[in-house]
C-alpha cells in the first residue's frame, strides 16, 4: 500500500510521495478552498502546484519513509 497520510491535525491535507521523492500534498474538497495540490521537498519547501504551504515535519516524515523504503527495495534487488 502506498504510504499516504491524512494529516492528523489538518485533516483536509493528504500527504503522499511521488516516485522521485517529492512530497505531494492534496487539499481535498472538505473546505471552501476546493481541490488543490502542491509539491514540496523533504523539509516542506514549496516546489510547485497551487497549494503553497505544507507541514515541514510531515514532509520530512513522508520523505524519510520513502527513502528508507527505496533503500529496502534496492537492497532486496542487490540481494
Amino acid at each position: 500500500m502506498a504510504h499516504t497520510i491524512r494529516h492528523p491535525l489538518t485533516r483536509n491535507r493528504v500527504y503522499s510521495v511521488e516516485n522521485d521523492g517529492r512530497v505531494r500534498v492534496q487539499a481535498d474538497n472538505t473546505d471552501e478552498t476546493g481541490d488543490r495540490w502542491g509539491h514540496f521537498d523533504n523539509s516542506g519547501r514549496w516546489l510547485g502546484g497551487e497549494l503553497l504551504h505544507a507541514d515541514p515535519q510531515m514532509c520530512r516524515h513522508m520523505f524519510a519513509h520513502w527513502q528508507l523504503t527505496q533503500a529496502d527495495v534496492k537492497g532486496g534487488a542487490d540481494d
Binding site: 497520510i5 523539509s43 529496502d72
Partner: protein
C-alpha cells in the same frame, strides 16, 4: 479572555487527556508497583538562561566541575569481553582507556603515555600490553610499568612511581561507567534505587544490535533535550498523534535520574477526531494512516489496539523470555519509558531497547555526539556487539537504515536540533530570562538543570549565574 490570557493554575497543570495511571487501571495484566510510582515533585516554573547552551564559559565550567567528578557511561562490558580488550572513551579534552585485565576485572586509566604525553591507544581493540606507539614506554594491563626503552636514560622513572593514572570504573546493567573523582560516591550509591525500574528487563542480558554515532551541530544539552520530553510530538512527529498520548505522559524526577512514560494506543487529546483502533494500529505499524477506511482488517474486532498490540509483543518476546513474557503487562509492551541518568545517559525501560548517550564533540561547545544503542535480548550464546556506525555532520540518520523506524523519527528531530542552537543565540539578545520550559512536561529537563546548577555552582537565572562565575 481565553486561557492564553490567564491560565487557571488551580486546574492542576496536567493535561485534560486520560492519565497514565488511569490507563494502567485498564491493563489486562498485573501492573508492577514501579509503574504506579509518581514522584509529583514540583521543580519550578522559572526560565532557564541561554548561556549554558551557547557560551564557552559554561563549557569551561563543565570541564572543571561536571565531567571530572560525575559518573558517566564509557562503554558496554560486551565491548571488552576478553583480557586485553580496550575501549577508548573521550570526553571533551580528556581521553580514558578502559581495559579488561588478565584476571577479568575492568580497569580504566587516563589514556596517556606518562613519558611524553601521547595518547597510549588511538582506538580500542585487543592488546597484550599497553605500549606507546611513539617511543615504546610500556605498561601491563593492570597499569604497572612493564618496560622502558633505553632504561639507563631515565633514572627518575621507577616501577613504583610510573604506573598509569587510574580512573574509577564500575558497572551497572552491562554498562561500564567511569569517574575521574577518587572521592566520588560509588556508582551504586549514585544510581540509588534505579534497579527497581529495570529488574524485570535486565539490561545485562542484552547485546548491542545497533550502535550509531551521530555528529550534531548543537550543544550536547540542546541535543539531548530533544529526547527528554514528549511535548514536541505535536509539531515534530505529527504522524504518530493518532496513536500517541503525547501530552498525557507521566514525568517523574528521582534523586539522580528521571523518567518519562509516553503512551501508545491512546490518541492525542489534541486531535479533533477519534481514531479507530485499526487506525492506531496502522500508524504504529507505519503503514500509513489510511485516507479512506483501508485500515479496516488490520486488527481483529472486539479488542483494542493496546490489548492486541501488547499480546503481539508477548508473542514476539516469548522465544527469548519464555513464559515470563506472559507476566508483562500491556503498558510494559506498548508504552515508552525513557530515563535519564544525570548528566547524559538515557536508557529506556521495559523492552524499548533504546539507549542514548550525548556528549560534547571534542572540546567544542556548539557541537555534540549523539549515540544510539539498540540493546536486544537474546537466547543462547551472546551475539557479538555491532560496530559503531559514524554518521557525519552532513549526513542524516537516514544513512543508518539499521535503525528502522527510529531513523525516520530522528530525521525529523534533526531538523530542529541545529536550528535550536542557532536560535538560542538570537534568543539571548531578545529574551534575557532565557528559554521557557513547561512546568510538568519538562520535568525531566528541569530535574537535569537543577542538578546541573548544583554541580556547576551556578544560580537559576542569568543574574545569579553571573554571580556564580
Amino acid at each position: 479572555m481565553t486561557e492564553l490570557d490567564d491560565l487557571d493554575e488551580t486546574a492542576g497543570l496536567r493535561s485534560r487527556g486520560i492519565s497514565y495511571q488511569a490507563v494502567l487501571d485498564t491493563d489486562t495484566h498485573e501492573v508492577p508497583p514501579v509503574l504506579r510510582l509518581q514522584s509529583d515533585r514540583y521543580l519550578g516554573s522559572h526560565d532557564v538562561a541561554v548561556d549554558r547552551y551557547i557560551s564557552r564559559e559554561y563549557h569551561e565550567l563543565e570541564k572543571q566541575r561536571l565531567w571530572p567528578v560525575v559518573w558517566q557511561l564509557a562503554c558496554r562490558e560486551e565491548e571488552i569481553p576478553n583480557p586485553g580488550d580496550t575501549y577508548v572513551y573521550d570526553i571533551v579534552d580528556t581521553s580514558i582507556l578502559v581495559v579488561r585485565t588478565e584476571d577479568g576485572t575492568i580497569r580504566a586509566y587516563y589514556n596517556v603515555c606518562l613519558h611524553q604525553g601521547r595518547t597510549l591507544r588511538d582506538e580500542g581493540g585487543n592488546a597484550a600490553e599497553l605500549r606507546c606507539p611513539y617511543h615504546g614506554f610500556c605498561w601491563h594491563l593492570d597499569g604497572s610499568l612493564k618496560r622502558v626503552p633505553s632504561r639507563w636514560d631515565y633514572p627518575t622513572v621507577r616501577r613504583d612511581n610510573f604506573s598509569l593514572k587510574e580512573v574509577r570504573a564500575e558497572t551497572w546493567g552491562g554498562f561500564v561507567f567511569i569517574n575521574m573523582d577518587n572521592e566520588a560516591q560509588s556508582l551504586a550509591s549514585f544510581l540509588g534505587d534505579i534497579d527497581q525500574h529495570f529488574e524485570r528487563y535486565p539490561l545485562t542480558d542484552r547485546y548491542i544490535a545497533v550502535h550509531t554515532v551521530k555528529y550534531l551541530r548543537a550543544n550536547w544539552k540542546v541535543a539531548q533535550e530533544a529526547f527528554m520530553e514528549g511535548y514536541h510530538t505535536i509539531a515534530t512527529h505529527p504522524q504518530i498523534l493518532p496513536a500517541t498520548g503525547d501530552e498525557t505522559g507521566q514525568y517523574d524526577a528521582f534523586e539522580n535520574y528521571s523518567r518519562a512514560i509516553n503512551m501508545t494506543g491512546v490518541a492525542s487529546p489534541n486531535l479533533r477526531w477519534t481514531p479507530t483502533e485499526s487506525e492506531m494500529a496502522a500508524v504504529s505499524f507505519n503503514s500509513g494512516n489510511p485516507v479512506e477506511s483501508t485500515a479496516d482488517g488490520l486488527m481483529p474486532g472486539g479488542t483494542t489496539f493496546r490489548v492486541w498490540g501488547a499480546q503481539m509483543g508477548r508473542d514476539a518476546l516469548r522465544p527469548v523470555l519464555g513464559d515470563a513474557a506472559d507476566e508483562l503487562c500491556d503498558s510494559e509492551l506498548m508504552d515508552s519509558f525513557f530515563y535519564t541518568v544525570f548528566p547524559n545517559f538515557h536508557p529506556w525501560g521495559a523492552y524499548n531497547r533504546i539507549c542514548y548517550r550525548f556528549r560534547p564533540y571534542g572540546d567544542n561547545h556548539e557541537q555534540s555526539i549523539m549515540e544510539t544503542y539498540i540493546l536486544e535480548p537474546f537466547t543462547g550464546e551472546r551475539p557479538p556487539p555491532a560496530k559503531p556506525h559514524v554518521i557525519g555532520f552532513d549526513q542524516t540518520h537516514l544513512d543508518a537504515p539499521e535503525l528502522g523506524i527510529l531513523a525516520e523519527i530522528f530525521y525529523q528531530d534533526e531538523l530542529n536540533i541545529p536550528n535550536v542552537q542557532k536560535g538560542l543565540h538570537t534568543l539571548a539578545k531578545v529574551k534575557p530570562s532565557g528559554v521557557t520550559y513547561g512546568v510538568y512536561q519538562y520535568n525531566k529537563i528541569r530535574h537535569f538543570h537543577n542538578l546541573y546548577e548544583e554541580y556547576l555552582g551556578v544560580g537559576k537565572d542569568a543574574a545569579e549565574q553571573e554571580e556564580g562565575r
